[in-house]
Symmetry: C2
Subunit: 178 residues, 2 copies
Amino acid sequence: MPPDPAPSRDADGMRRGASIVAVENVSGSGSAGSLDLRLWVRLLGCARIIEKQLRRNFQEQFDTTLPRFDVMAALDRAPDGLNMGALSRALLVSNGNVTSIVRQLQEQGSVVARPDPGDGRSAIAALTPAGKAHFAELARAHHQWVRAALAEFPPDRQEQLLSLLGELRRSLLGEEGE
Amino acid sequence: MPPDPAPSRDADGMRRGASIVAVENVSGSGSAGSLDLRLWVRLLGCARIIEKQLRRNFQEQFDTTLPRFDVMAALDRAPDGLNMGALSRALLVSNGNVTSIVRQLQEQGSVVARPDPGDGRSAIAALTPAGKAHFAELARAHHQWVRAALAEFPPDRQEQLLSLLGELRRSLLGEEGE
DNA sequence: GGGATTTATTTCAAGCTTAAAATATATTCG
DNA sequence: CGAATATATTTTAAGCTTGAAATAAATCCC
């Protein structure tokens, strides 16, 4: 039998957070890459660092996942429930994806799905009381994790960044209101 | 037989790009949510919008994926090749993940793995000439997509955002050099 | 009413992702 | 040398993700 009870001293099965990072200064002219490429790489990198922490926290502290949290959050804001299509639109994920996540939540008792009286094709998913309570706990922890992640980044910078990202988002989407 | 040859008029199996978006103003005090939560949601949203476009472009125009591109990019910058561990560290993904992506690239002829003469445990992966050529094409397209995505966002804003994200990244990581 | 079309959802195949377990090869040091 | 330990990698189980195909129910319109 192996003599070490250590949980995992093997290779590194946990780092993550940047993917495209490797693209930094590739295919560009100089060694620094072009402005737009560098911006994209850095944006993705920051998002992944935080996302990774959140995912890990959800897994370790609540044995759940970010997508499940997303679905619960959407349902929490819809007291009368939502059908699959509405959930899919709210979360911007594919329809088939919602199916399996809702199934998980049903199995764990956080969600119920009742047939839509007005449309035989749809069922309406909603949080159970237990699900609502569970979500409240998750949301509190989630907010705390985000706060902790951004704790060293001063509020005035946060304001600036928020505003700049708002501009970016508008330019990425329609640019309506030019 | 169904009379329409249309590729897909069914439900929406493609939207995506924000996930956590649903959390906007949840569990907060007011309707706007706290600053840090809003910042996080917006950051993730922007990253996903671009990421999604890139992924779709890779799929549709080159029948490949972002992770495969990442591995090729890392190998392109290492003329002598890299072993799995180095790749895993460079890309910040798990070791097991690299294994399967490299396998795909080997099967498609873009990568070869030769045994490391100095270490029997390692094999060194490197781009083949065909892989190098293919990557050059992919990188050109990738840069063009990023440029196009950010085209409406003015360069001075890009500079500002780049710098602010640099600060954010530093604060997320060590904060070394305070 | 009833066929054609549209809409809501599920199922499916393929691929990414991780963490943990399993292998296999080095390295250390007694 | 040889056992203990460390390192490199693969395999595996579980879950997310998408897009396409398959159902099934509703709507349109002749």
